[in-house]
Structures are given as C-alpha cells and as structure tokens.
Amino acid sequence: MSGLGNAALDHLRDVLERPDLSGTRYDLVEPIAQGGMGTVYRAWDRELARDVAIKVVRSELADSEIAGRLTGEAKILAQLEHPGLVPVHEVGRLADGRSFYVMRLVRGQELDLAALEVRTLPERLRLYLKILDPIAYAHSRGIIHRDLKPGNIMVGPFGEVLVLDWGIAKAVSTREAAGPAERTAALPGATNPGAVLGTYGFMAPEQAIGGSVAVDHRADVYSLGVILRTLINPAGSGAKPLVAIIARATAADPAARYAGVGDLAADVSAYLDGRPVAAYHENLIERIGRFVSRHQVAIGLVVAYLLMRIVLLVFR
C-alpha cells in the first residue's frame, strides 16, 4: 500500500483509542469525560436496554500501575453504597487488554455550573450539605477521597448530588483514619510524572507537600472548605460565621480543622438554622441580632400583643 492520507490517519488514530467492547454486552456511544487515568464513555447496555458509563484506562497507561488504580477505584466504589455515590455494575478487562469498569450513567452538571442556577445563599448551603453526606459516609467506611473539587461533584436534574472520581481515593482503616496514617507518594505515571496526586488549589497543604507527610480524612475536610468558599462567593463572603467555618475547615494544621466532615456539616446546618456555630465566637450584639432574626415572627407577635395591650390601656 502507499501512504496513509490525512483522513484515514485521523480516523485510525480515533478508532484505535476507542475501547474495544467486543465480547461485552455494551455498545460504545461517545466519550463524555477525560480524566487523568481514564476516559469515561457513554455506552448502551444491550441486555438491560439502558445507558451506562464505562471508564476505560487510557491507552498509554494500559500496562502501567495506573490500570490497577482504575480497578482499585471500582473496588472502592463497590464497597460504598450511598445515593450520593455511583454504583459500579461490572469491572474487568477489555479484549484490547485495557482495564475498565461499568457504572451508572450520571446525568447532571458539575457543581460550579449547577451553582450558577442556585441563587440564594441558604439554597447553596443546603446544596453544599448534600455534598458532605456521601463523603462523611465514605469516611465512616475508612475511605478518603483526596481529590475533592467542583469538577468531581455532579448535581443532577432533581438536585441530587453525586461525588465522582474516586481514582486516587485511599482506603485507610477507621483506626488509622483517626491518626497519622496515609502517605501520599508521588506516583510515577500520573498526569504529571513525579507530581503529587490531587488538584492544586483544592488540595490540603500536607497533601501538596507529598512525600513523608501523613494525609488523613482531614485532607478532605480542607478541600470541602475550599469548595464552600467557591460556593458561597460572593453572597456569603460577608457572613462572619461562614468565613470562620471556612477558615477552620481550611486551617493549615490538620489538627486545627474540624475533626470530621460531620462537625463541618453540623456547623453549616447551625448557620442555616440561625444557631451559633462552633467556629465563631459572636459578641452580645451579634448574638441578639441572630436571636431576633431567627425568632422574628414570634418576637413580632409578642410585641404586637404588648402594643395592643398598651393601646387598650390608653383608649379604654
């Protein structure tokens, strides 16, 4: 044969990257997301007649330890059963030798996009609380996510929240999770070889340093603090208790952060309900202000009653 034309070349480059689903019950539809270690495709499950998502390790990583990480992610997800986490249907190797796993197809928007449609601060905070739920659950099962950021959080059409991309999640025993445990090694073959796993800007300092520093579930608390900051801006940046909550969650020293996601959630709920938050010591005026705004209807009614008594007294 003579040379390959541009059209044929581009076509070949495209089809060879596509996962070879022959021998499975799925038909490839389209790529929907590109991650550090794998590509997620929409696929059609012929047997159950439904759309699914298939995550396939990228070609260049097929025979590296990353392929094992993909399988590891599937196993971790399979351990976790929660409405805020994607259920895994199947895991295995394709005919082309690449590791893959099949999961529920998630429909929705990434958090930062979805947040644009949520206008009021209380609504955003309620959305935020939904994010904390599956993560608190994962922590209770000894799993830390280590790469929490808006891009890994999907908000569905009914406001349901799903936390995705557990590719660099770590299983630590619950006993370990309470104390110094996990070391983030700079794994070779990550998107940036030699780089620390995770995403700068959302990553806890002890995780960003990498190497010998212990990383536990409080690294997730840090990331969640950063997410809260991005979520409430600019509407909530003037609220002192909220700012204090973020400051505590994102403290440089893990010991100065919330001890767990549950405590963070409790503080955000407290703020939402007009109760005092643990992260912030309010002065008397602030306390009275919060009390009045929390009970304004009741106070209004009592004042109305007293006013009327006075009126009846004067005009009797």
């Binding site: 209807v297 009741a298 009614l301 009592v302 109305a304 009653y305 009327m308 008594r309 009846l312 007294l313 009797r316």
Partner: protein
Amino acid sequence: MKKPVFGLILGGVLGVFDGLSALISAPETAPGIAGIVAGSTVKGIITGALIGWIARRLDSLLLGVVIGGAIGLALAGVISVMQKLSGQPPYYWQIMLPGAILGMIVGYATFTHRERKVA
C-alpha cells in the same frame, strides 16, 4: 414533647398572664379576677390543645398562625357572648383582639415546636 401537650401548656401559661393583665387594663374587674384568670386559662388550654392537634396533621407555618389566630378569636368571642348571657357587660374587642394574637403566638410556637422522639 408532643405538640398537643406543648400547645396545651403554653396556652395555659399565656392564658394565666393574659387574665392577670385585666388588673392593669381594667382595674374595676379586680374583685372577679379569679374567675377571669380561670376563664382565660381554660381558653388558652383549649386553644393550645386544638392547635397542637391540628399541627400534628398539617405542615404549614402560615396556616398554623392563621388557624391559631382564628381559634383565639373564636373562643374569646364565645366568652364575650357568655358574659352577655350571664348579664355582665361584655368586652368584645378588648378580649377578642388579644385572644386572637395569643392564639397566633401559640400557633406559631406549636407549629415550629419539634417533637423530640423519646427513646
């Protein structure tokens, strides 16, 4: 605490003070103050229990306040009519308006009150 019990107690307590307030607003009623206090307490208890009963079946704060006001108004109206029937000078709006607001307060408090589960 269950909502009817909460409403009953709150209504009763507020009813005691509401009745005592007659000493200030209408000192001429002082000799019969015991009857007044007893009446307004019973009225408060009935209002609170009724609202509590409704609050367990309804989940709207606004409706709770409105219904509370309506019950307070109606019971105070009944008392006025009874006053008239027993030959006393009736106080219509002097007791109906405060009764309505008290009903609203009881309604608001009872509807926002959370029943804590007893283990």
